[in-house]
């Protein structure tokens, strides 16, 4: 028996699915995590750096303003001297040094130790820090991953600022430093969990922290129950063959279309489905048609699931034994 070489497309795998990981928690629940994309992490760190820079500038200006504006400390005291004014100046200088140190080192620590496990930049990017082994994210892990940030982020920045200030005469040491930074930058690109050096040391990783709201139930209307359109009065009943053309992937696309509820895409999708199943697309109440089709397709696929049959997408043959793809 010759097997016809039918070119089969591989099942559609989205980027988010490729980044998906299952972590089994101590109680045996398989939780789904999605490793944060490099782009969102880069975006998060850029936002954080901008925030740190702004905080530094604002606090510096505030201290200067307080010192020379409100307290009327004369400029000549910058040279030294004693008395209450000089002491005030010293106090502000100490305050400034401590503040700068904290901004540089404590910003990430403070925010990542809070229950959300994310700096403002990470929150905006929708990601958070978590422990790689599915355990608890400990204070030590957060400290380790952020102390290492110093050589990954601040040192290169300082280095290039210095290099550009002193001119282009880079010696062997500078080249070695450059190679070092290239290696550091290459680490998150080279491993599949996008771990940077600090993550490796701390046993942490950065995952997506989706905050989705519970959407409304789609299949509730008259069209879903009886397949009848309230506008045109038409009844939509689909046979097994007409429902068998699509799988779970198409069902979820249809779900998105229904949730977005945009008139032009409703029409377009209705026409596509009708062409596929050989119906004449009627006009007037596309939504009822799609709701009816969605409900009946989902009922059919979910019934299949209960019996252990799944149909991933329209290329999947429902009767094929599992594992042959």
């Amino acid at each position: 028996m010759s097997v016809a070489a039918v070119p089969r497309r591989r099942p559609i795998v989205s980027d988010a699915e490729r980044r998906g990981r299952r972590v089994v928690t101590p109680e045996g629940v398989a939780l789904g995590f999605t490793v944060a994309s490099r782009a969102s992490r880069a975006g998060a760190v850029i936002i954080d750096l901008i925030l740190i820079g702004l905080a530094m500038i604002v606090s510096t200006l505030l201290l200067l303003l307080l010192l020379f504006g409100a307290l009327q400390v004369p400029d000549s005291l910058l040279e030294g001297g004693s008395g209450p004014a000089a002491r005030a100046f010293q106090f502000f200088a100490v305050l400034w040094i401590v503040a700068m140190f904290l901004f540089r080192n404590a910003y990430f620590l403070f925010f990542e130790l809070r229950p959300r496990g994310a700096t403002p930049g990470k929150r905006l990017a929708g990601i958070r820090v978590a422990a790689r082994d599915g355990g608890q994210l400990t204070a030590e892990a957060v400290i380790a991953r952020n102390l290492t940030r110093d050589i990954e982020l601040f040192l290169p920045v300082l280095f290039f600022m210095q290099a550009s200030a002193t001119g282009s005469d880079m010696g062997g040491a500078s080249l070695a430093a450059l190679a070092w930074f290239v290696v550091i930058v290459a680490i998150p690109i080279a491993n599949r969990d996008h771990l940077r050096a600090g993550d490796i040391i701390a046993g942490s990783w950065v995952v997506e922290a989706p905050r989705s709201r519970l959407a409304t139930v789609l299949a509730t209307g008259d069209a879903a129950h009886t397949g009848r359109s309230e506008v045109t009065g038409a009844r939509f009943r689909f046979g097994g063959a007409e429902l068998a053309v699509y799988g779970e992937y198409e069902l979820q696309v249809l779900e998105r279309v229904l949730r977005d509820d945009r008139a032009e895409s409703l029409v377009a999708v209705t026409e596509t489905i009708c062409r596929k199943i050989g119906w004449e697309p009627g006009r007037g109440d596309e939504r009822a048609f799609l709701e009816a089709y969605y409900t009946q397709l989902r009922a059919r696929l979910e019934q299949g699931m209960r019996f252990g049959r799944r149909k991933a997408d329209k290329f999947d043959r429902e009767d094929a034994p599992p594992g042959r793809s």
Partner: protein, 350 residues
């Protein structure tokens, strides 16, 4: 949901009776979504860090609700094709899990445990790396001394211009003595201390972080920093001021050098775990070593604060070399005792 409502995130949610759902999986969802939403509300409040706003009732209900949710998720994965509901359940399960699992001690609770034994345990866990770091530092001092005694030109290379000030080869003994005693420039002590702390802490963090590259840069950094010290020792030795210099250094040096020793050892610890992971996987070995070393590092920052206070204030206040030595020796004994002699296993402050 219309676009405007979606924008403001306040879709009016119609309350649906279970019978209204056409599909079995939707009925399953409608029967349980009350619990889910209650859990979501509790989780959202706890994520904001406002534990006081969460009632005792809710705290008690949290584990139960979490388990309900997790079992719902398990069932939904096998029976429902409603992608939006599945995504909601997955994300809520994840958020709740972050809160339920792990008795996350607050920063304060962590700090108390840290001082009450965890710190010493972390330092002791560095073990042989402390010896390695000590050896590197001793080698650095020796190298610095030998280099400068061979050719005083090396002094300029080892000591940065700004730090050298009056302490340079060729300076007479009186000038050098002046740098050891005296008030240190009027009342600028606190400023001096803060600047010292900031600088030293950054160096210590660097020594730790560089350990990532198989510990080699950490070792080099230790040797380089200590070579400067060796050069200065030689300089003051030439002028016959060695005991005075050691006394001057001892006030803060026993604390500061000890802190740098621990930072370097922490870096070496991590680097060694990456280079020689033993039977564990490299990533696991690195993570275990990193967490131990990070705790020691948090302590290093504390020690450097102490060192800066000693250097900025006490060195100016205590002018007698014998008293200076005594102060430095006391600090050294204190740290050694705290790290190695005082072992509170089990943690009394838990």
């Amino acid at each position: 949901m219309n676009p405007l409502a979606r924008l403001f995130g306040q879709a009016p949610e119609p309350v649906l009776a279970v019978e209204q759902a056409a599909l079995r999986s939707d009925r399953f969802r409608l029967e349980r979504e009350g619990d889910w939403k209650r859990l979501e509300a509790i989780v959202a409040r706890m994520e904001k860090g406002r534990l006081s706003r969460v009632s005792d009732e809710d705290i008690l209900a949290l584990p139960v609700l979490y388990r309900t949710l997790v079992s719902s998720l398990g069932v939904a994965r096998e029976t429902s094709l409603d992608a939006a509901t599945l995504a909601y359940l997955e994300s809520l399960a994840q958020r709740a899990w972050f809160l339920v699992y792990g008795p996350r001690v607050g920063l304060w609770g962590w700090f108390r445990r840290f001082l009450g034994g965890e710190w010493g345990r972390a330092v002791r866990a560095l073990g042989v790396d402390l010896v390695l770091a000590l050896a590197a530092m001793a080698a650095g001092v020796l190298v610095g001394w030998l280099l400068v005694s061979g050719d005083p030109e090396w002094y300029g290379a080892l000591i940065p211009e700004g730090l050298a000030d009056a302490r340079r080869p060729g300076a007479d003994a009186e000038t050098l003595r002046g740098t050891l005693y005296g008030s240190g420039g009027g009342g600028g002590m606190s400023l001096f201390a803060a600047a010292l702390f900031s600088n030293n802490a950054q160096v210590a963090i660097l020594a730790f972080a560089l350990g990532f590259a198989f510990a080699i840069p950490s070792l080099l950094l230790l040797i380089h920093n200590m070579a400067g010290l060796g050069a200065m020792l030689w300089l003051f030795g030439q002028a016959g001021l060695l005991p005075d210099f050691v006394a001057w250094l001892a006030v803060h040096g026993t604390t500061e050098l000890f802190a740098i020793l621990i930072a370097g050892a922490a870096g070496i610890h991590v680097g060694r775990a990456i280079a020689f992971p033993g039977e564990a996987a490299v990533l696991d070995a690195a993570a275990a070593a990193g967490r131990r070393a990070a705790q020691a590092m948090a302590g290093v920052v504390l020690m450097l604060i102490v060192a800066a206070v000693l250097e900025g204030f006490f060195r100016q206040l205590v002018q007698d070399p014998v008293a200076r030595i005594a102060l430095g020796a006391f600090m050294l004994v204190f740290w050694l005792g705290y790290f190695f002699a005082w072992r509170s296993d089990g943690g009394p402050l838990r």
